[in-house]
C-alpha cells in the first residue's frame, strides 16, 4: 500500500511540475545597443510585476523562465543607456523571444534604475571588476590608451613599475592571471617590452577581471582571469575612427554585412621619424623599432537561434639595434590568435556556445656580437575546443557546464655560435570539465556551487577544483558575499619585471608538480547613497608547489627538466575597498588596498650564519602595503572633459645591503677585484612611497563635417615626482656610490581622433 502511495505521489508531483511548466511561460532574447547592434554583457532585464529578473551572459543573451501567463512590463537597463520598457502578454506555455535594443543615453544624467527587486541585483559578483572601454580611452595614459594600465588602477591590482603593464593581482605574479581574448588564451599580451598591452581599445567591447574566487567556468591559473571580448561591429551602419598619437596611431572600421557585421582595427607605432631624428646625433638608437597589431571579427547570424563569429588577432614587435660597431640585437616577438564561435539556442531553457581556438606566441631574439651569433626560437601553439551549456531547469536554478580540451606545444631552441645549445619540445594535451549550479533558494540568497576537473598530460596530472560562492542580501542596500575555490596551474612564466621581450613559458611535467592554491574571499556590496557604490572585500590565498625557473641557473644545457626549477610556496591576504559613482557630470572611483604577499623558496633568503640554510618567507618586490587610486572624470562643458588620476602607494620592497667584501685572486679576471654584498633579510626594506598625478583634457568637436573629432592633451606625472624604481650600486667608487634609478618624469602627450 505504501509503495503504491509513494508511486502515485511521485506521479502527482511530476504531473504537477510538468503542469506548472506547461502552464508557465518564459521570455528570452538578446540585449543590444540600438545604434551599433553590439550585444551588451550583464545588462539587467526584469519582469517588473513579479520581481523576476536576470542579466545577460557574455554573449548578451538573457532568459527569464517560469513566469505565469499574464500581462507584464518587461524592462531592461544598462549604465549609459535609456531605460527600456515594453508591455508584453504571455500565454500558457509561450516562450516569447524578444531582442531588446537599448538607446544610448548621451546626456550624463542620473542613473536610470529599473524599479524592481531583481534589478537591484548587482552586476558584479564577488571578486569581479568590469572596466568600461570609454574609461580606458579617457584615462590619461603614457602615450597610448591601454587596457592593462587602466586595470592597474583597480583595488587589488598592482603595477611593478611605470615601465610595465604587467598585472600583479592579489599578491600573484602576472603569470597567475589567465588572459583571454574572445575566449582564446593570450600568452604574451604586451608591446614595447611590456610597456603596454596588446589590446587595442578601439577593438574592445568588454573587459572583465575576475580578481579572485573565479567561477568553475575558468581554470588553469592560481590567481585571476581577465576576459576581454572584441566588438562585434556595428550592425546598423558603417563607422570607423582614426587616431593619431605620439607613440602610435590607430584606425578602425566596422559595419553591417548581410545578416551580420564586421570589425577591423589596426594599430601601428609611429616612432620612425623620432628615431631617425635622434640617430643624427646619437649612436645608441635602434635602426628599426616598431610594433603593430590587427584585430578583426566577422559575425554572421544564420538564424535567430544560431550565430557564428570568427575573430582574429595578430601583433608583433620588431627591433633592430646595432649597439656597437660589431654588435647588433634583433627582437621579433608577438602573438596571433583565432577563434571561431557558434552560439546555438536550443530553447528558452538551454543555451550553448562552442568555440574553436588557436593561439600562437612567438619570440625570436637574435644577437650577433663580434661575429658570434646567438639565436633563439621560441614558439607556443595552443589549439583547443570549448563548449559551454547554460540550462535553466527552473527559476531557482541555472546549471552551467562545459568542457575545454586542447593541445599545447612549446618549442624552445637556442643556438650559440651556430651550434645547438639548448632544445626543448613540450607537447601536452589538456582537458577540463566543469559543472556549476547557481541556486536562488529565495530572493535573499544566491549560492553558486561548482566543480572543475583539470587534466594535463605532461606528468599525467588530474586535479579536482571545488568552487563555492554564497551571497546574502542583508538589506536592500547591502549584500554580503563569500567565496572559496581551489585552483591549479600547469604553467610558469620566465620573465623579468624590467623587460618582457624574452618571455618563455614552461609547464609542469614528471617531477614538477603543478602549482595549486586555495582562495577565500569575503565581501560586502553596498549602495550607501543613490548612484554610489561601496564594495569591500577581504581575501586570503595560499600558493603551493610554486615552480619557477631557478634564478641562479646560469645554463640549462645538459640538465634534467626538473633541475631547471626551484619550487616553493607563498600566501597573500588583503583588504580592498572601492567607492564609486558611475553616472553624473562628475564620476569616478577611489580604490584602496591594504595587502601582504609572501614567498619562500629553498636555498633563498636564509641567514648567512645558519648552516642549515633554512629558507624564510620574504615579500616580493611588488608587495606594497597601502595602495590608493583616485580616478575622476568631469564634464567641464559639452565640449571639454577633464579626467585625472592620482595614485599613491607605500614603498615597494627592496633588499638593504649590509656589508661588502671582495675577492682578489679570481682566476677568471686575473687580479681584478670582484665585489659582493652581504644581506640579511631579502626585501625587508622599503623604497620611498610612490605618487603620480596624471591629467587628460579632451575636447570634442567635428572634423570638417566628416565626423566627430576629439583632441586629447595629456600630462603624465604632472608633479614630475621622481619615484624610485631601484637603487644602483657603483663598485668602481670606494665607498660604493648609490644612485636612485627613477621612473617616468613628466611626460606630455597629444592625440587626435576622428570618428566617422
Amino acid at each position: 500500500m505504501s509503495k503504491h502511495f509513494l508511486f502515485f505521489t511521485a506521479i502527482l508531483l511530476l504531473f504537477s511540475i510538468s503542469s506548472q511548466a506547461r502552464q508557465s511561460a518564459s521570455v528570452s532574447g538578446y540585449v543590444k545597443d540600438s545604434e551599433t547592434g553590439e550585444t551588451l554583457i550583464s545588462a539587467n532585464v526584469a519582469v517588473l510585476e513579479n520581481n523576476r529578473g536576470s542579466s545577460t551572459n557574455t554573449l548578451g543573451y538573457f532568459t527569464i523562465t517560469n513566469v505565469q501567463p499574464g500581462s507584464y512590463t518587461l524592462a531592461a537597463s544598462y549604465i549609459g543607456y535609456q531605460l527600456f520598457q515594453k508591455e508584453i502578454i504571455l500565454t500558457v506555455g509561450e516562450n516569447l523571444r524578444i531582442d531588446i535594443e537599448l538607446v544610448p543615453d548621451f546626456v550624463q544624467g542620473e542613473e536610470i534604475i529599473v524599479e524592481s527587486q531583481a534589478e537591484k541585483e548587482e552586476l558584479k559578483s564577488i571578486g569581479i571588476a568590469q572596466v568600461k572601454t570609454e574609461l580606458i580611452k579617457a584615462l590619461p595614459a603614457i602615450f597610448e590608451a591601454d587596457v592593462f594600465r587602466s586595470i592597474q588602477l583597480l583595488p587589488g591590482v598592482k603595477a611593478a613599475s611605470d615601465f610595465s603593464s604587467g598585472l600583479y593581482i592579489r599578491g600573484g605574479s602576472p603569470d597567475q592571471t589567465l588572459i583571454l581574448l574572445d575566449r582564446t588564451t593570450v600568452y604574451n599580451p604586451s608591446h614595447f617590452f611590456g610597456f603596454f598591452s596588446t589590446f587595442n581599445p578601439d577593438a574592445i567591447k568588454d573587459v572583465r577581471l575576475y580578481k579572485g574566487g573565479y567561477p568553475a567556468e575558468y581554470g588553469g591559473r592560481l590567481s585571476s582571469v581577465l576576459s576581454i571580448y572584441n566588438k562585434d561591429g556595428n550592425r546598423n551602419k558603417r563607422a570607423g575612427s582614426v587616431t593619431l598619437g605620439m607613440l602610435a596611431s590607430r584606425a578602425s572600421i566596422e559595419g553591417p554585412i548581410k545578416k551580420g557585421s564586421y570589425m577591423f582595427a589596426f594599430r601601428r607605432s609611429t616612432l620612425e621619424p623620432l628615431l631617425s631624428a635622434l640617430r643624427q646625433n646619437n649612436d645608441n638608437i635602434p635602426s628599426r623599432f616598431y610594433f603593430l597589431d590587427f584585430n578583426g571579427k566577422i559575425n554572421f547570424d544564420a538564424s535567430t537561434n544560431n550565430k557564428f563569429s570568427l575573430a582574429a588577432y595578430t601583433g608583433t614587435d620588431k627591433v633592430t639595434f646595432p649597439f656597437a660597431d660589431d654588435a647588433e640585437i634583433k627582437l621579433n616577438y608577438g602573438n596571433q590568435t583565432i577563434s571561431g564561435n557558434w552560439t546555438h539556442i536550443f530553447n528558452e531553457k538551454l543555451f550553448s556556445n562552442f568555440v574553436i581556438t588557436g593561439s600562437r606566441y612567438f619570440n625570436f631574439p637574435e644577437f650577433e656580437i663580434a661575429g658570434t651569433p646567438f639565436e633563439r626560437e621560441n614558439n607556443i601553439y595552443d589549439y583547443s575546443l570549448k563548449s559551454d551549456l547554460e540550462y535553466l531547469p527552473s527559476e531557482k536554478h541555472q546549471i552551467s557546464t562545459g568542457v575545454w580540451a586542447g593541445i599545447f606545444t612549446l618549442n624552445l631552441q637556442d643556438r650559440f655560435d651556430n651550434q645547438d645549445s639548448f632544445s626543448s619540445r613540450i607537447h601536452s594535451r589538456y582537458g577540463s570539465f566543469y559543472i556549476q549550479d547557481t541556486w536562488r533558494p529565495s530572493d535573499l540568497w544566491k549560492i553558486i556551487g561548482g566543480m572543475r576537473l583539470n587534466y594535463f598530460s605532461d606528468g599525467d596530472y588530474l586535479r579536482l577544483e571545488p568552487r563555492l560562492s554564497v551571497e546574502h542580501r542583508l538589506t536592500e542596500k547591502v549584500r554580503l558575499q563569500a567565496a572559496y575555490g581551489r585552483y591549479n596551474q600547469f604553467f610558469t612564466l620566465i620573465s623579468n619585471e624590467a623587460f618582457s621581450g624574452f618571455d618563455v613559458w614552461l609547464t609542469s611535467d614528471d617531477g614538477i608538480r603543478p602549482a595549486y592554491g586555495d582562495q577565500f574571499v569575503l565581501g560586502a556590496k553596498t549602495l550607501p547613497f543613490k548612484n554610489y557604490g561601496l564594495d569591500i572585500e577581504l581575501y586570503y590565498r595560499n600558493m603551493n608547489d610554486l615552480f619557477e625557473l631557478d634564478p641562479f641557473l646560469p645554463d640549462a644545457a645538459g640538465l634534467l627538466y626538473s633541475d631547471l626549477f626551484r619550487v616553493g610556496n607563498g600566501y597573500a591576504y588583503g583588504f580592498e575597498a572601492m567607492f564609486e559613482r558611475q553616472v553624473g557630470r562628475l564620476n569616478g572611483f577611489i580604490g584602496y588596498t591594504f595587502a601582504y604577499t609572501w614567498r619562500k623558496f629553498p636555498g633563498f633568503n636564509y641567514e648567512l650564519s645558519d648552516a642549515s640554510r633554512a629558507a624564510r618567507f620574504y615579500p616580493p618586490k611588488y608587495d606594497r602595503r597601502n595602495d590608493i587610486n583616485l580616478v575622476l572624470n568631469y564634464n567641464l562643458s559639452r565640449k571639454w572633459t577633464l579626467t585625472g588620476s592620482w595614485s599613491y602607494a607605500t614603498g615597494q620592497a627592496y633588499t638593504q645591503v649590509l656589508g661588502r667584501y671582495a675577492l682578489f685572486d679570481d682566476p677568471f679576471s686575473l687580479g681584478s677585484e670582484v665585489g659582493s654584498f652581504t644581506v640579511n633579510e631579502v626585501n625587508a626594506a622599503r623604497l620611498p612611497s610612490y605618487q603620480r598625478v596624471d591629467l587628460s583634457f579632451a575636447r570634442q568637436g567635428t572634423f570638417f563635417g566628416i565626423g566627430e573629432a576629439e583632441l586629447q592633451l595629456q600630462i603624465i606625472n604632472v608633479l614630475n615626482r621622481k619615484n624610485v624604481w631601484f637603487q644602483n650600486y657603483d663598485f668602481d667608487e670606494n665607498p660604493i656610490k648609490i644612485t636612485d634609478v627613477t621612473l617616468l618624469p613628466v611626460l606630455p602627450s597629444i592625440s587626435y581622433t576622428v570618428k566617422f
Binding site: G371, F604, Y618, A653, L658, F668, P735
Partner: protein, 300 residues
Amino acid sequence: MRNLSLTIGLVLITLFGCETYSQSDYEEFYVVESYMVANRNLQQVRLSTTVPAFEFYDFDDSAIRNAIVQVRLLNQNSSSIDSVFNFTMTDPGIYQPVSTHRVLPTRSYQLFITIPNGNILDEISATAIVPDTFSVIDGILDTLVYQSSEQLSVTFSESSYPGRQNVFVFTTISENPIIDNLTPIYLDFYEDDEDLLEFSVTSSGLLNEGNFTQFPDGSVTINYPWLAVAFYEENRIVATTVDDNIYDYIRSNAVQLGGSTLSPGEIQNVLTNVKGGIGLFGAMASDTIPTFIKRNPFLE
C-alpha cells in the same frame, strides 16, 4: 552598517597586526678566498672580514692577522685526513703554504682555519673536490684570422666531476694588450680613461658540458667564439672545469645585483659553501691553448 564596520575592523586588526619582517643590522663575517688547481702547487689563502656596505673598503684594513690556517688532504672517501699543510702569514691577511704540495685531481681538500677571538676560537672550514684533469687532444691552431671561416675548434680529453656534468669557464688572456690591438667590438666599448688591462682578460662565464659536442670516449669539442677575443696577436685561451664551490659562487654573484628573473633591488646573498664564514674555497682543473689572432683585412 555600524556593526558590520566594527566587525570588519576587528578582523583586519587580527589579520594584519601580527605579521612582522624587520630589517636586521650589519653583521660582520669572516671572508676566505683560496683556489686549488689540479696538478699545480697549493695557492695562497686570503682571510679578512666584511665591512659595512657604504664604508671605505681596504683589504689590509680588514685583514685577519692571527689565524691558524691549514689545508688538509682528505682520504678517498673524505672520512679522515691524509695530510695537513700549514700556512703562514706573509702579508696582512695573506697566508702562504709553508711547504709545497701538488694538488691532486679528484681528491677532496679541506680548508680549516682557527682564529682566536677573546676566550674562544672561531672556526672556519670549507671542503672542495678537485675536478679531474684534461688536456687538448686535437684542434690547436697556431694562427687564426679574426672572424674568418676557420674558427678555433678544440677537442679536450675527458674530465669528470662527481655527480654532474662538467662545467667549464673559458678565459682569453691577451699577451699584448695595447690599444692598437683591440678588436673592433672592444675598441667600440673602450673609453679613453679606462685601464686596458681590464680588457686583457675576458671570461665566458659558466658553460655546461651539454653545450658542446660530446663523444663516446668522454672527450668534448668546443668552437671558441670570436666574441671572447678582445685583442689581436698573442693570446692564451685557458679552459677550466670548476667544482661546486666555484660554480655556486659565480652563478649567484653574477645575478646578485640584477638579471635573470630577479626583480631590480631584490638582492640575495652569494652562495658560499663556507662554515663559520663566507667567501670561496674552490677547486678547478685547466689547460691552456696559446694562439695568435691575426687581423681580418675585410673588417678593417
